[in-house]
């Protein structure tokens, strides 16, 4: 048997029209042409399948006695030829490759691990500020990103950013700033960690050093770990001892005053639309950012609004939005006393939540205002009750 490939490789289905088609088939058998699927369609038509390599020889045998029509070509060779030699296929493949390549130049996902005290959202926000966000180019300077994070977030011991394909893996190691605990076997004082008026002291071990009502500054001893003793061990070396050292502990509550200051606008600014507006399109493709509104912007005062139509990251980061810039006239109106108080209270709540410890109890709060040209200063006076004691080891102590 001749080895000329197989029907799977390249075969053709042909229609033979004419008389005495059997003679042609007999000739093919004699010449070793392999024929498949011989089907008699009518008195003068027969459909056969043969391999492409035998087709030339088959035509020579058929001469001009028969009408030969190729109905179909099959097999993987013509399939590949048809598929890969079409212009549209080549363009499609090139486009596909281009999209794949282009997609590979963007960060499609950011995975953050190792954070404890910060929330993932906080870290993501800071990464975004530094230029690393889902959809950004991979060309972003990672060193700058790291520096930004070190700068913006406290207590970051180490940050690592690496790309795994389109995934940016951010690993964060937070430093530990837990207060240094004093070993229970070692003597210590309880000292004030902030200034205030002592309200109540519960000394579970040690001697009270700051009575209620005393004003203490940071570092002052509140419960002393040095207890004076009157030794009765006469005639022994221990008779010379006048004090003993203990591991003082307990709770010291103090009234802590706070003076906080913030500003608020004196006027409410009202934006009244004039009726003039322009529409535009914001288009972002990876690093390419186009906003047609910005190009035709012509108003001195305006309000920008946008409706996002499309925002995808895969297969390529693409954002499309309909933007509107509306011309506005800005007028100002002085805030009423009620509005000022309401705003001042809101500011006070924010600033208190930032500056005052969570477990502090607010005893008194007063707000006072000082008027400037365009702003109003809000003076917040606070008095809180909070625990101010912390342990501090006694240095240079002598063993009892």
């Amino acid at each position: 048997m001749k080895n000329r490939g197989s029907f799977l490789e390249h075969s053709i289905i042909i229609k033979i029209e004419g008389f005495d088609r059997q003679k042609l088939l007999t000739e093919c058998v004699k010449r070793g042409i392999i024929i498949k699927d011989i089907r008699s369609v009518s008195e003068i038509e027969t459909i056969i399948t043969l391999m492409k390599w035998d087709y030339e020889q088959f035509l020579r045998l058929a001469k001009n006695k028969y009408k030969i029509t190729v109905l179909k070509e099959s097999g993987y060779r013509p399939f590949i030829r048809k598929t890969f030699f079409k212009k549209s296929t080549i363009i499609g493949l090139l486009l596909f490759a281009l999209i794949l390549f282009y997609q590979g130049t963007f960060v499609s996902e950011i995975r953050i691990s190792g954070y404890r005290s910060y929330s993932e959202a906080e870290i993501r926000d800071n990464l975004r500020e530094a230029g690393l966000y889902e959809g950004c180019s991979k060309n972003v300077d990672l060193e700058n990103v790291k520096l930004h994070i070190y700068k913006e977030l406290d207590n970051i011991a180490w940050i690592g950013v690496r790309y795994m394909g389109n995934l940016a893996e951010v690993t964060i190691a937070e430093g530990t700033i837990t207060p240094k605990l004093v070993d229970k076997s070692k003597p210590c004082h309880v000292i004030a960690k902030k200034e205030g008026y002592v309200e109540n002291t519960i000394a579970r071990e040690g001697r009270i050093a700051a009575e209620p009502g005393t004003y203490v500054k940071q570092g002052d001893v509140l419960i002393s770990g040095i207890i004076p003793i009157a030794s009765t061990a006469y005639g022994t070396p221990a008779s010379g001892m006048t004090e003993r050292y203990v591991h003082a502990y307990g709770e010291v509550y103090a009234k802590v005053p706070y003076r906080l200051f913030c500003y608020q606008e004196k006027y409410n600014y009202i934006k009244s639309p004039t009726g003039n507006h322009i529409f535009g399109i914001r288009f972002e493709l990876g690093g390419l950012k186009i906003n047609t509104v910005k190009s035709f912007y012509k108003y001195s005062n305006s309000a920008y609004t946008e409706k996002e139509i499309l925002n995808i990251i895969r297969p390529i980061p693409l954002t499309l939005g309909l933007a509107k810039v509306e011309e506005v006239e800005v007028s100002k109106k002085e805030k009423s006393n009620e509005e000022l108080k309401k705003e001042a209270n809101r500011l006070a709540r924010n600033i208190i939540s930032e500056k005052v410890p969570e477990n502090a109890q607010i005893l008194n709060k007063s707000l006072s205002f000082s008027s400037g040209e365009n702003i109003i200063g809000v003076n917040i006076m606070l008095e809180t009750l909070e625990e101010i004691g912390e342990k501090k080891e006694i240095n240079n102590w002598k063993h009892n």
Binding site: R21, Q22, L25, G32, I34, D37, T46
Partner: protein, 88 residues
């Protein structure tokens, strides 16, 4: 079958040799195709002819003096040179 008969059978290259099973038939020692139609396929084996009758008959392949036929096969006929007919 004796050895002599077997040898004669093997070397009878101009005689029909058929294997019919279900909807498939294999015809060996094919020297010439006489007729191919939906209901009848007739081949010449050299010394004798054989005819396969049925419906939807199709020659699946022809190679090396062997024809494979598929379809609903009803009967097989052999024609001798002298015109005598045997049907099986």
């Amino acid at each position: 079958m004796g050895i002599k008969d077997e040898l004669l059978f093997d070397f009878s290259i101009k005689m029909p040799r058929l294997l019919i099973s279900g909807k498939t038939g294999i015809l060996d020692n094919v020297k010439k195709i006489v007729l191919v139609s939906e209901n009848n396929i007739v081949v010449d084996h050299g010394k004798r002819y054989s005819s396969v009758n049925g419906t939807d008959l199709c020659v699946k392949s022809i190679e090396e003096e062997r024809i494979i036929i598929t379809g609903e096969i009803y009967s097989v006929e052999f024609y001798g040179n002298r015109g005598d007919i045997h049907e099986e």
